[in-house]
Each structure stands twice: as C-alpha cells, then as structure tokens.
Symmetry: C2
Subunit: 250 residues, 2 copies
C-alpha cells in the first residue's frame, strides 16, 4: 500500500504498512498550551523528536501535503483534562480552530532499516501491535507539562543487539538508539507480558528485550499534566507520511 492508501483505508495499527515511509505520532493542543508542549519536546528529544508543527487550526503538514490530520490517522484519542473520552476513527468533529498539531517521530520508521540489517521484528511477525511501557523515569518538565518516559520494546537476538543499536542510533529524529537493553526493572517495568499500551510479544530463545524512547510519551504527559483539551493518535495507529524513512538517516 502507498502512504495515501494507508491514510485512506487503515483502521488498525500501522507497523509494517507502507514500508519505506516515515510514520509519526500526533499530539494537538490549544494554542495556549503549544509553547509548553514544544518546550517539553525540546527538553526530551529522545521520546519527542519533532518532525513538524502546524499553525493554529491548520490540518495539513509538510510531511504529507494532501493529507488531513483530522481524518487520515487510523484511530484518534480525544482527551479532556487528562482523561481519555473517546477513540474515534475520524477526529473532524473534535478538531478546533485553536489547535496546534505536533508530529513526532515514530520508531516504526527505523524498522525497515532493522530488517535490512538482518534484525527480526518479532511483534510484526506475530501480527501484533508493538508493546509499550510507562517507565519510572521522569521526563524533564516544561512549563505546565510533565510526565514519565514511555518506551517501546522489541525482542532482539542477543548477538544482534549491537546491530540494532548501531542502526537506530543513526536515526535520531525517530527516537535514535535504545535507552536500555536487558533488564526491564532498570526502567521500573515489572511485567513485560502486560504492556501499558499495545500487545504483549512472545520472545524466541536467546532474545533480549530492547527499549526505545516512544512517541506515546506525550500521551502520558497529557494524563499527568491534564491540559483542558488534546487530540492524539491511538498508540500504534500512526500518521503515515509521504517522507521516505531514509530521509531521517544520518
């Protein structure tokens, strides 16, 4: 499928769809909160690498000129005062003229490079959404925005952890190198089989859990910081851009 076909038709998780194209997280907040969000992203570039920011009320982005940010994501989350209200497949009725949309790099973008480097993707092969976990690491706060680091996890054969590190380190705009490999408890994660978002993955013998900073971190910040209103994507249900993934490779 092309990026446009995914944007028009997909309603599930987007990992592995439109391979070769970058995907992005969404968080849209009222203009009055935009500086706090942008500063939070600047201060936490591993989980929140910003790929584009719209002007207030604008629903288009340089990342995909003909896309509509209020309609072309498979599933949205509508937040009020930090509480999840609904998860529609179209956010048109919720969008407001004062919303500023942030598009933030997504680790799905480095998965083609991982495949090319010979690193298997267990969760994709198992037909599941990537597992994501809230950690015990606090992000650096910014204005009224604070919250914990969220990570995505991929099981990687122990002898390929170095390759996975080296491959993703070259793509800092889509989370870059892992933040941790090995012991989930070092991140305060108690049980890999019960992710906070997404689905559990089954490891193969010799696999090690590898953790990358995740663009769901702004959603954890919404829950913790309670802005009056926000729209995000649903975890794993990303905005598929028209930008080639290797555009973000150094």
């Amino acid at each position: 499928m092309t990026p446009e076909e995914v944007r028009r038709t997909a309603h599930g998780p987007t990992a592995g769809l439109a391979p070769g194209y970058a995907q992005a997280n969404l968080i849209a907040v009222p203009r009055d909160w935009a500086y706090d969000v942008l500063l939070f992203a600047q201060r936490n570039p591993k989980p929140c690498p910003v790929l584009d920011v719209t002007d207030p009320g604008v629903r288009t982005t340089v990342l995909a000129e003909h896309a509509d940010l209020a309609r072309d994501i498979p599933r949205y989350r509508i937040w009020e005062h930090g509480e999840l209200k609904v998860e529609p497949t179209d956010a048109t009725d919720h969008w407001r003229d004062d919303l500023v949309a942030f598009l933030i790099g997504c680790s799905f973008t480095f998965e083609s490079a991982l495949r090319r480097a010979g690193v298997p993707l267990r969760y994709v092969d198992q037909g599941r959404n990537v597992p994501m976990y809230v950690t015990d690491r606090e992000c650096r706060p910014a204005g009224r925005i604070h919250g914990p680091l969220v990570v995505s996890m991929r099981y990687v054969p122990v002898d390929q952890v170095h390759t996975a590190h080296a491959t993703t380190a070259r793509m800092p705009a889509v989370h870059g190198a892992p933040v941790h490999a090995g012991n989930p408890r070092d991140l305060g994660i108690k049980d890999l089989d019960h992710p906070d978002f997404g689905d559990p993955t089954t490891p193969e013998p010799g696999d090690v859990p590898v953790f990358w900073a995740c663009g769901v971190t702004p959603q954890a910040a919404v829950m913790a910081s309670k802005p009056p209103f926000a729209i995000t994507h649903a975890p794993g249900h990303m905005f598929v851009t028209d930008v080639r993934d290797d555009h973000y490779t150094i």
Copy 2:
C-alpha cells in the same frame, strides 16, 4: 583554558578556546516571543539546533551549571526593534525578568573533530574570526519570525571536502553536514572577501569554500522580524559550555 576560564576571562572570538568543549549561540527574547523563536528553530534545524531553553528570567543553563548567561559570554549584542544598540561585554544591566534564553549549537563544536580527521582550519591558523555570510535562502518562517539563512565558511582542501562532510554530518546538533560546497553564488554570496560577520580568510591553493548553516541566523531573523527586544552573543563570541563536544556526535 578550561570552559570556566574562558567564560571568566575571554573578550574576543572563542574559536579554538577550551578545545574539546561544545560552544553555543545565544538569543534571548521576551516570553511573549519565545514560542515564535522556538518554532522558528524547530522549522529550521540546520541553522538553529536548540541545545537548551531557559525558563523566563533564569540566567543559568544545564549546559554549564555554574555559568551566568548574562555575564559569561565574551561580547553581547543588545537589540531593540531589530536595531543593534550596543555591544557590551556584560549584559547584566540589560537582562530582564521576562527573557527566555535559547542556546543554539555552534559549528566551533565540530572543529576538534575536523582537526582529528586531518582537515586544516585556515581561519584559526590565521588568527581570525570565522567568516559568515547572509545567503539568499529564506528560512521557513514561524509566527512573527522570518529571515534569511546565514552560513559560516571554511576553506577546505578539495580532496578533504568529503571528509569534512562525513565528519560534520555526524554532529547534527551543531549544524551537521555543510549546506553547500563550491560556488558562493549558489547561495547568493557575491564576495567571499567581504563577509557580513567575522573576518575574511585567505585560501591556500586547491582550497574550496565549504558552507555550514550558522547560529547567527537568529540574529538575521531579529533584524528582519524586529522583535521589541533581544539579547544575542556577538558573532564568533560564543558561550563556552561544560559539555564535551563528542556528546553531540552520533
């Protein structure tokens, strides 16, 4: 000299001082203009890679815990409505409680890596400030902020242009790869011997001019956009941080 010694004693250009430590550009604007500046930086990451942003009125930075941003830069520029008013060596009397300071990556930071890779630095060897030029390329505007791209230029032996490119590409937080090598007119630069900021450099036979995006770009934006008030460093007179330069190498 250590970074702290440079901050305490230097009053001239800082290229080559405290080798091994990152240097930074400064632009401080009233809180009311901070979102525009931060968004301008996000939209123009080559000239404006943000290393830190202070809270309003705060004169310290995570980049050098014991430094005072209002005193520890060798020379400042005080701007009113886009006009340069004075160039003091201490900005304490001009600092305001509503100022938000942006520290932006500086290409001096990759010069140790260039030296290690065997690339000579003509302008340092000639005891001059790096030459900087206003180009005919417009930055992507953000809110009330707009202006042209400014570049720094280093003469590089033609057979080392590739090395200079590869070495600096790995340091995107301090401007990364060159934006151009070869013909100054491709950037709208008419005369290399008359830089807009800094000093002219004398090439050696076989040298090619290589251009990097420059952290003086926000000053060109101040001139073009005329915010009511701003404080910047004087070109080439940088804030020397306590962060090792290889912290910014991928």
